[in-house]
Each structure stands twice: as structure tokens, then as C-alpha cells.
């Protein structure tokens, strides 16, 4: 690949970055799905960053200069998406919810990557009884319903109490516990494969330390499929967070806005026909997960040659699509074949 070229450093431009590379590789419908996913995800991240500017009120705000908002008010000019049963502004809580979700995603994924990759690397490279024990434990945890696992972890971490910032952090760590086995499995499998390759063997022969082989030679090669798992896990993290919130492990409304918790509060609203308290936070979850999953799915398909759409004459994209693809040498060849 690019790294095998004589001047590997120069060849590593932004074009070989994980997502950018796949974007350039994709065609037709697959590109459409990837672009749609990236757009939604981008909007989600921007909303999270600029939530205080976008939201008309605070997430825990119950009153303004004109007095209290009132509970279960239908959408109006003051409250575009109405107010909740607790008297909060729905729009503000939906917007601030992106912050909670993004924070939990980032913390959960960072923690689980560090723990999972480290364990997988050590387990796969060193082998032995440690490896066997870790594999059995990871398999047991992996097969277990993830939500229940997160519940147990949440009880342990927060003692079942949802405190202030601790609530968000506890949710993130609970989700981490669920994810660690996934990274562990992938990295371990890759490590086992790579450690028998010739370049590892030669590194060992010249006397490189085990730690250096693991970090420089094996790790760099074993993490190739991680971007894919990260995107898929990001969407799972949101769903697990919402599930925890829905079961009452949510963060208190005064501490942060959390979509699952708001949905839990809206169960009784639905029965009496109040739709705005559930539809908007729920749609926010669906949209965010949809965006992240579209990105993850597209990356998955592009990584699998059986599923990757080819630029064949039969189902080649319309010429306009080919024209905007720079450096598409293959596409240029099929262009003339197109009717």
C-alpha cells in the first residue's frame, strides 16, 4: 500500500486518512449513504459544540422574565417544541442532549480503546494462561445482554445514585465495560496473526524489546479495522445511554439534558395524547444513530470487496459522478462504454 512506497512519509497526505480515503473510494449509492451519514454526524457535532448559542433557554431552566414556563405546554412561539411534564423547554433540552451524548461517546470510546487494545495486544502477543483466561472472560461478557451489563456497571459506579457530573461519567464508564471485549477480540485476533509474520520475527532476531515490538510493529498493523468499530460503537453508545436513562439511571434534569431520561418522563404523556415531549428527543436519538450507522455501514461495505460497489459498465454511476472524482483512472476507462 502507500506505506510500502520508498518515501512513505510524503505519501501520507490527508487523502489517506481513514474516512477521506473511503469517501474517495466510494461510488454511486454507497457514496450517497456515506455523505448523508457524514453530514448528519457533522450537524450533530456542531450542535453539541454550539448548543448554548442555539438553544433559546438553559436545559434546566424553568422560568424566564415572564414567570414559569408551565408544564406540558404545546408548541408555541415562545417554546417551539413545547414544554415537558417537568416544565422544561423541549427544544433546549433536545439541543443540549447532543452535548451529553457526544461527551459520553468520546469518553466511552477512548476508555474502551485504551483498555481493549492494551489487553488484546498483551493477550495476543504473550499468549499462555493469561490469554486463555482473558478470552473466556471476554467471550462471557460479549455474549451477555449489553444493557444489563451497563446496568450492573452503573449500579457499581454510582451506587445506583445519579449524582451531578458523576452521572454522565458513570454512564460513559458503564458503556465502556460493554465495549472493551469488542476491541479486545479484534486486536487480539490481529495480533495473533501478525506476530507470526516475518517482520516481527526479524525484529525479535535483532533484539528489539517485547514492548517495542508490541507498540511499534504489531499495534500499528493491528488497528486497521478500528475506525469501523468506533463508528458502530458510537451509535451503540448513544442507544445504551438512552436505555440507561430510560430505565431511570438518567442524569437528573438539573445536571444535564439526556434524551432517554426525557423519554422515560414522556411515557404517561403519550397515553394522554401529548406527542411533543416524546417525538423530539426520540427523533434526535434516531437521527444521530442513523448518521453514525450510515458512516459505519459504508466503511464496512467499502472494506469488504464482496460488498463494495464496483465501477463496472453495467452499474456505473452517472457520468456527472465520475467527472467529479479526481484521479479516477478506472472510471475514465468506463466512461466511454457508458451509453
Amino acid at each position: 500500500m502507500a506505506t510500502a512506497a520508498p518515501t512513505p512519509v510524503r505519501r501520507r497526505t490527508w487523502r489517506s486518512l481513514p474516512v477521506v480515503h473511503q469517501l474517495r473510494q466510494s461510488v454511486g449509492l454507497q457514496r450517497g449513504m456515506l455523505v448523508a451519514g457524514l453530514t448528519i454526524t457533522g450537524v450533530f457535532v456542531l450542535t453539541a459544540v454550539f448548543a448554548p448559542l442555539l438553544a433559546p433557554y438553559g436545559y434546566g431552566q424553568l422560568r424566564d422574565a415572564d414567570g414559569t414556563f408551565g408544564a406540558q405546554q404545546s408548541p408555541s412561539a415562545e417554546h417551539w417544541l413545547g414544554t415537558t411534564v417537568g416544565g422544561y423547554d423541549v427544544l433546549s433540552r433536545v439541543l443540549y442532549g447532543t452535548r451529553t451524548a457526544l461527551f459520553v461517546i468520546v469518553v466511552a470510546i477512548l476508555l474502551s480503546i485504551v483498555a481493549g487494545v492494551l489487553l488484546g495486544l498483551v493477550s495476543g502477543y504473550l499468549g499462555g494462561w493469561l490469554d486463555r483466561v482473558l478470552v473466556v472472560v471476554a467471550d462471557a461478557v460479549y455474549a451477555f445482554p449489553s444493557l444489563l451489563l451497563a446496568i450492573v456497571a452503573a449500579i457499581v459506579i454510582s451506587g445506583g445514585q445519579s449524582s451531578l457530573v458523576g452521572g454522565v461519567l458513570a454512564a460513559a464508564i458503564s458503556i465502556t465495560v460493554v465495549f472493551i471485549p469488542q476491541y479486545f477480540r479484534v486486536v487480539r485476533a490481529e495480533t495473533v496473526r501478525i506476530k507470526s509474520e516475518a517482520f516481527v520475527e526479524s525484529a525479535r532476531v535483532v533484539g528489539t524489546s517485547t514492548w517495542r515490538i508490541m507498540t511499534r510493529h504489531v499495534l500499528r498493523n493491528a488497528t486497521r479495522s478500528l475506525p469501523l468499530i468506533v463508528t458502530l460503537n458510537a451509535s451503540e453508545a448513544i442507544l445504551t445511554l438512552a436505555g440507561l436513562g430510560f430505565l431511570g439511571f438518567g442524569i437528573q434534569p438539573t445536571a444535564a439534558a439526556e434524551w432517554g431520561f426525557d423519554l422515560n418522563r414522556s411515557i404517561s404523556d403519550v397515553t394522554s395524547g401529548i406527542w411533543w415531549t416524546s417525538i423530539f428527543p426520540g427523533s434526535a436519538i434516531v437521527l444521530t444513530v442513523l448518521g453514525l450507522t450510515l458512516v459505519g455501514e459504508s466503511l464496512n461495505d467499502l472494506a469488504d470487496p464482496r460488498l463494495r460497489a464496483r465501477r463496472r459498465a453495467a452499474d456505473a454511476p452517472p457520468p456527472a459522478d465520475v467527472a467529479v472524482t479526481p484521479g479516477g483512472g478506472l472510471a475514465a476507462g468506463t466512461e466511454g462504454v457508458l451509453p
Partner: protein, 364 residues
């Protein structure tokens, strides 16, 4: 575990192996034995981990009744339940109890956990079966269609549908279904498993299985059967859609794989029609990986059932789990979680056995 079994075993037997050693039955037998023995560490690890993790938060009595009882009564309850003994003794006691089928006593309402499990387990089982049925009926045919029209617009729509199924939290799907079909259209009941009148009718019929459909059929009352089914429709769809998306994607991917396989290509060159190729040639081999994946889906369905039951007040294990979580009754939570761990381990075993019986390549 399931993924580890998917690698096809090397087809060639080492040349030095005597022909008599290549008995197929022996391989299957030892595989099943090893696989059965693997259940024990799985369940053991989960039960142990849950036990010790839960105890790091303190004893269950203080957790649930902390601020509500005077200190001396609290201490009395703790001693009575044996939570003042060393942790290791409690753990061994708990393990011993599990082996005898005793999951402990809940700390809030002082019921044996086993009783809770048998009372509400049937409801969860019923919901899970309905959910899986819905998932099969929706997911498999749509997956076949998607593979057939691969990379054209219907395929894109179906794939977005599959992703939407996955992206919609099961409780939000439930709330939407409730809003549309129960509140706005008023076609189906809002929540619960059965009306009060129906419940009385069932109770009069004596102790049933707890699976309301079977109980209702055994009363011989057609209206009651219809009522039970009407209550089940929305929760089943909400839960089923969650898994339907997974099945759709799996069938699609595997069908694309098998449709490109050599034997299908050969059939195509013999002039077999495209729809017959899908139905007769590519369909069955594409289903084998699904059987393996159902094991993992059981875990997803159980997670989903917890949330679906809370949404629809379906009085099963998940609903009770939610209630006990709110009450901070961790003995009950621990019992329910341990039972679910056993169920997941057992289904995974059954699934692996079925996969091994169907596909001779699946061996360790």
C-alpha cells in the same frame, strides 16, 4: 464463541492420520461435549462478577432500606439475612443456593427471587418469542429482496429501513406505535398484557402456564384469545423491528455472497431462472450464518425486552427489573441478571449445537 466456530476447518486430513481416525461422529461428539462444558465457566464468571460487583456498593439491605428504617432495625435485618458475615462465606453460600435453584430473597418485598423469576419469566418468554417471530417474518424476506435488487434504489431504501430499525431505540418505537395506534387511532390497547376482566377470567380457570396465549386457548374462549393477541401486537412489533433490521442485513450480505458462489454461477449458466436461483440455490446456505447469529440476537432481544416491557407495562422480568432498580433492591436485580446470564449461555449452546448439526464444517 460463535464467531470462532465459523472458520472452516482445513479440509485435508494430515497424511499421517490413519483412515480410521477420520470418523465424523466422534468429532461431533467431542465437540458437543467441549461446547457443553464451556457453559460452566461462562455462567460462573458472570455470576461471580455480578455478585462481587454488586457487593462493592455495600450490603443490599442498607442500599434499599437505608434512610427508611431506624439503625437498630436495619442492623437486625442485616444480621437476619446474613449480610454481616465475611464476603467469601456469603459468596459460597450464594453459589450453593444457586446450585439448589435458590436465588436469594428480595430485600424490599421479601419474596424469594425464584418466585419472582417463575412468575414473570413466562411473560418475558412470550414477548421474546413474538418478537423473534416478527423479526423473522419481516427480516428474512426483505433481506432476500434486497440481495436480489442489490445496489439499486429499492436496495437502498431497504438498507435505510434496516438501519432505521437499528437506530430507533425500542422504547421510542414503542412510544410511537402507542401514540399512533392506541391514542390517535384507538385500534389497540395502550399498555398491559390483558384487561382486568380477562385476568379474572384466566384466574378462574386455575393456575396456568403464565403464557397468556396458551392459557387463553385452554379456556376455549375465542374472544379472550383475540384480546390477548390484541394486547401483544404493539410490544411484539416494537421488539421485533429491532431484530428485523439485523436479520435483513445478514440475509442480504449472505445472499450476495452465495449468489456469487461457484455453484450458483454454474446453475445460472445452465439457464436456471434468477428467481429460482434465489429461492432454491442461494437461500438455504445463506441462512446458516443466521442460525449462528441468533445466539447473539437472544442477548439483544432480552435487552430489548427489558425496555419494551417498561414501555408497555408488560409485567415480565424486564418490567420487574426496572421496578427493582428504582427501589434499589439489588438482590432481586442480581437474581434476574443471573437468570438471564444462564438463559443466554444455554441458548448460545443450543444454537452452536444446531449449527454443528447443520454444517459439518463447524468444529473446534
Amino acid at each position: 464463541m460463535t464467531t470462532a466456530t465459523q472458520d472452516p476447518a482445513p479440509p485435508a486430513v494430515p497424511a499421517d492420520a490413519p483412515a480410521a481416525r477420520r470418523r465424523r461422529g466422534g468429532g461431533l461428539g467431542s465437540y458437543l461435549l467441549v461446547r457443553a462444558l464451556l457453559i460452566i465457566p461462562t455462567v460462573f464468571i458472570l455470576v461471580t462478577a455480578v455478585f462481587f460487583l454488586m457487593r462493592t456498593t455495600g450490603d443490599p439491605i442498607t442500599a434499599s432500606l437505608g434512610g427508611r428504617l431506624p439503625a437498630d432495625q436495619l442492623a437486625e435485618r442485616i444480621r437476619e439475612a446474613g449480610y454481616d458475615r465475611p464476603l467469601l462465606v456469603q459468596y459460597l453460600d450464594y453459589l450453593g443456593g444457586l446450585l439448589r435453584g435458590d436465588f436469594g430473597t428480595t430485600s424490599t418485598d421479601r419474596r424469594p427471587v425464584t418466585e419472582v423469576l417463575t412468575t414473570y419469566g413466562a411473560a418475558t418468554l412470550e414477548l421474546a418469542v413474538y418478537g423473534l417471530l416478527v423479526a423473522f417474518v419481516i427480516g428474512i424476506p426483505l433481506g432476500m429482496v434486497a440481495a436480489k435488487v442489490r445496489d439499486r434504489y429499492p436496495d437502498a431504501i431497504l438498507r435505510v429501513f434496516a438501519i432505521l430499525c437499528y437506530a430507533t431505540p425500542v422504547f421510542f418505537a414503542g412510544l410511537l406505535l402507542k401514540l399512533v395506534f392506541s391514542v390517535w387511532l384507538d385500534w389497540l390497547p395502550v399498555a398491559g398484557r390483558i384487561s382486568t376482566r380477562g385476568q379474572i377470567q384466566l384466574n378462574r380457570n386455575g393456575a396456568g402456564t403464565g403464557i397468556f396465549l396458551i392459557d387463553a386457548i385452554s379456556t376455549g374462549d375465542g374472544d379472550l384469545v383475540v384480546e390477548v393477541l390484541r394486547y401483544a401486537v404493539l410490544p411484539s412489533i416494537a421488539l421485533g423491528l429491532l431484530t428485523a433490521g439485523v436479520f435483513l442485513r445478514l440475509v442480504r450480505t449472505n445472499m450476495i455472497g452465495t449468489l456469487g458462489a461457484g455453484y450458483v454461477e454454474a446453475a445460472r449458466s445452465r439457464g436456471v431462472s434468477e428467481s429460482r436461483l434465489v429461492r432454491k440455490h442461494a437461500y438455504r446456505p445463506a441462512l446458516i450464518p443466521i442460525i449462528t447469529v441468533i445466539g447473539l440476537q437472544v442477548a439483544l432481544v432480552l435487552s430489548g425486552a427489558v425496555l419494551t416491557e417498561t414501555t408497555f407495562e408488560w409485567r415480565g422480568l424486564g418490567f420487574q427489573l426496572g421496578q427493582y432498580l428504582q427501589a434499589r433492591d439489588f438482590v432481586a436485580v442480581q437474581g434476574i441478571v443471573a437468570l438471564l446470564a444462564v438463559i443466554v449461555a444455554l441458548t448460545n449452546f443450543v444454537v452452536d449445537v444446531v449449527a454443528a448439526l447443520i454444517d459439518p464444517r463447524v468444529r473446534y
